[in-house]
Symmetry: C2
Subunit: 555 residues, 2 copies
């Protein structure tokens, strides 16, 4: 059965029931149909977050074989609820790009899903749209001001760094020229579109803690320079009020349910390879206000999502995870050991022993943050006992507790042992998160620390563009912001072809974007693009709808 | 008080109460918060539409002075309910373009508004977003196929007519080049963005009557030619299933309420100057299934919205209005008579007598459709008795019943007399709508008939581009489709500067776009643009939000 077929066999409870389970008066939530709701921000109460447990789920470097990080996050939540721990899973919202591209949905899989999956995977409650509109309103105001006769701020169009965004995999929009067609249709200039998940507004929404915080950050967005070299910000265009108004509902976290009827809060959707990669601070704090355990996920590998989770989100929001789960699969580790996708079903202990060095490096990285680590082996039917033993032995050698989970086929039942381990680790944890770097360090030192310590790089190379960006950042006084590195998720290095545990590589910083509103800078490494493309056979081709409005082919 | 201030004084009833008033079980509606809901399509029942009254509200040629067509539509609905007629107002959804540009919201004004106005004016229930995403998914699939090595359909990029859309006034996106940046980022080609209200998908959504109808129309969208000159359609890219899936909720009409607590159905939002300009067929039929009277609106002047309402929507959907209200204001008629905006407050009977020829022409046009006409004078406080008498005398001379309404300041109370008249006209009406042209006529004859009979043109001129488009349309066998003319709303002619009742003018057809899925062709006349720009002082600058999430400055 496909994910959507499994999902369609589940009898959903009204979301008002899920709210009641969390102790919320159903009158205060805003329904979006029967099975989705927005939660008012005043349910977040610092006093109620005391003594609660935040469990982060991360993973080894992703491969086409799949690791199932979302599936484990959901399955672990079911498992924790089964063993009597009141737990909410807090996740990011899916982007339409991957849904129509290659990856499919982002709502888990098999018997570990959040529902209604077709709604969550398509427009959900409109948050991505609101972010996109707020972003593109600023872009329209910028080009309108450049064109303006009476209200011009003197913005030099060649310096404008603010692009447009669209929630779509559309490579043809990466590099474009706008403003053609004569005097009535703007000033021609080079620009482009990023995917909405990479929007600075997405980052801002995920880091804001109130309407005023949101508005101030929106006003701080850097847009370019005047002809006489003065920096201009969104507030100079009086854009931030209208942008915040567009986000009035998007700022509120969304409540849905898991297959087993447990609460799921889904909010914000930055990608971890090109943005900070974790759900909103408000959603995490909402979860911690409403339940005893929160299971959350940081996108892609530990080197991307988890590093940003710790060094940006936790530092900013004062969060301290009491357990961190690193998800691995035998299949992915064999892929890191050089096995082709089509041969992953066969036992191959030699390749596994080689590929396991990817896991080893991520476990080493975990220890650098002074958190309480766990390895979760996401079991597939093709995994052999000998292979599982190799992973168990390696974890023992590394001194990290490990448990096998089987969540795709068995849901929460398959994660009970993992839940027992995670609850024990979290409840006994006395670790205090130690960020990898101080925000006050120089930009280059921050980049070097992440690249050498986490990625394992030998050196860092800056292009002329990146060096020039660096000077600009220092001149703007933004060099004390944290760094949110854009890097391929496929490798610990910035080269997607280097699997396993690459060594002696150089990380190339191609450019450094400013996200003054979000409060970080974005060093872009290697060939990573902030607007993906569609594959030769887009997943969109298989999606359909019948006379009754039922969707098929989604995932 | 501003509109949003007036709106904020109203104590809204839960939308479940509005549903009950229409005889709908509140369990079957899908709530979007407490005050908005989507209505399931099975509430539309042809048997229940029998003997119901459809009242269309149209207007004279719009001016900066305002005519208040939406305000009259809402006020008339309140008035009809006050005199005991069970009435629903059925309207289009606002576009963000005008909200942030110059016009402000599109939810009525003063004491004749639909609520919650800030929600309806911003993202509402996400329909515009869904349309935009479906549109841009097809665009991404087109450029992906052009780039494709293994799945190429041989599409000649120079022939692609499908652009992208964004719900924003953004003139810099009208004419763009995409696909720059080298081999990995697409094939460079010229294209552009239209505003979402002008999307063929918007037209399709507004004309579809079921999921299957929707999907078939989406598949019929023409996208361009292969290098060997074969036409290609969206179905050739297998795009229509995923596009329809994106529209699974957008196809359902939205229920809200008026200030006086009467039902309002708001669905679909094409502009009448660049698209067909009326709400969805499903919304109209929903209204007729649920109440005895439906008041609906066709955008801009009678020459644009009403002509398309009759010749496209009514013919397609088998609708027959039993009364047609033409809205005029003394201010607008004086503007047509040459008075500057700043002087409109002063009595000026000479200018009024001159400008009233605009009203005269629209009344003449009404009679060509064999419908039962009414003139509604939307009264402003500055109107003098002498001026009102001139309009009354002119209507008497033209043989059309006329009534004064004062809906902005008084709501339904100010429209009671108009309601009594409209109800009487509708109930006594035995007219059978006579379309202006037969769909089977040649494209040129259809254009000529509208331009000469309705606009009052002396002749039609076709550019070389338009002539070439015409040949293409004939070769594709699409020449028996109706015509949806894009023309400035500011004049009966295609020149926005010609006010009043222009004569001896030539209409220039610049190009003819194909909307094979919607089922019409779009002759574009004069300088009209399908992507508006922002003004020197965008309305966005005044919009703000406070700590509690309350919006100000929206209209």
């Amino acid at each position: 059965m496909t994910d959507i077929e499994i999902a369609s066999t589940v009898k959903l409870k009204p979301i008002t029931e899920t709210a009641k389970k969390l102790g919320i008066d159903p009158e205060v939530i805003e329904l979006y149909g029967k099975y989705k709701a927005k939660l008012p921000l005043d349910l977040i109460q610092p006093a109620r977050m005391q003594g609660k447990h935040l469990i982060l789920v991360s993973a080894i470097s992703p491969t086409p074989a799949g690791e199932g990080k979302t599936t484990i996050s959901i399955g672990l939540t079911e498992g924790l609820n089964r063993i009597g721990k009141k737990t909410t899973v807090v996740l990011r919202e899916p982007s339409l790009g991957p849904v129509f591209g290659i990856k499919g949905g982002a709502t888990g899989g098999g018997y570990s899903q959040v529902l209604p999956m077709e709604d969550i995977n398509l427009h959900f409650t409109g948050d991505f749209n609101a972010i996109e509109k707020a972003h593109n309103l600023l872009a329209a105001l910028i080009d309108n001001n450049i064109q303006s006769k009476t209200s011009s701020l003197g913005l030099d169009p060649r310096t404008v760094t603010w692009k447009r965004v669209m929630d779509m995999n559309d490579r043809s929009l990466r590099h474009i020229i706008v403003g053609l067609g004569g005097t009535s249709s703007g000033i021609p200039r080079e620009t482009g579109f990023d995917i909405t998940a990479a929007s600075e507004i997405m980052a801002i929404l995920c880091l804001s803690e109130s309407f005023m915080d949101l508005k101030e950050r929106l006003g701080n967005i850097f847009i370019g320079y005047t002809y006489d070299k003065r920096p201009l910000y969104a507030r100079d265009l009086k854009a931030h009020g209208a942008m915040a108004a567009l986000l009035k509902d998007a700022i509120k976290p969304n409540l849905v349910q898991t297959i087993e009827g447990n609460p799921a809060i889904i909010h914000g959707g930055p990608f971890a390879n090109i943005a900070q990669g974790t759900n909103s601070v408000l959603a995490t704090k909402m979860g911690l206000s409403l339940s005893d355990f929160v299971v959350t996920e940081a996108g892609f590998g530990f080197d991307l999502g988890a590093e940003k989770f710790f060094d940006i989100k936790c530092v900013k929001a004062g969060l301290n995870p009491s357990a961190v789960v690193l998800v691995a699969t035998i299949r992915a580790l064999k892929y890191h050991g050089g096995v082709k996708v089509e041969n992953l079903k066969e036992e191959n202990t030699a390749a596994l022993r080689k590929g396991i060095e990817n896991l080893e490096k991520h476990v080493e990285n975990m220890k650098k943050f002074n958190i309480c680590p766990i390895v979760a082996l996401n079991k597939f039917v093709t995994d052999t006992d000998a292979e599982i033993q190799i992973v168990a032995d390696k974890c023992k050698e590394l001194g990290v507790p490990m448990e096998v989970a089987e969540v795709w086929a068995k849901g929460g039942e398959g994660a009970e042992k993992l839940a027992i381990l995670a609850a024990k680790v979290a409840e006994q944890c006395v670790c205090k998160l130690k960020p990898l770097y101080e925000w006050s360090w120089d930009i280059e030192k921050k980049i070097e620390t992440i690249a050498k310590e986490i990625y394992g790089a030998a050196a860092i190379d800056y292009t002329a563009q990146a060096k020039s960006d660096l000077k600009k950042i220092i001149a703007l006084g933004l060099d004390k912001l944290p760094v949110c590195i854009a890097k391929t998720q496929k490798s610990l290095s910035d080269n997607p072809k280097l699997l396993g545990r690459p060594k002696d590589f150089v990380v190339t910083v191609r450019q450094i974007e400013i996200a003054a509103g979000a409060g970080f800078v974005i060093p872009i490494t290697g060939e990573i693009m902030r607007m993906p493309g569609l594959p030769e056979k887009p997943a969109a081709e298989n999606i359909d709808i019948d006379e009754q409005g039922h969707i098929t082919g989604l995932f």
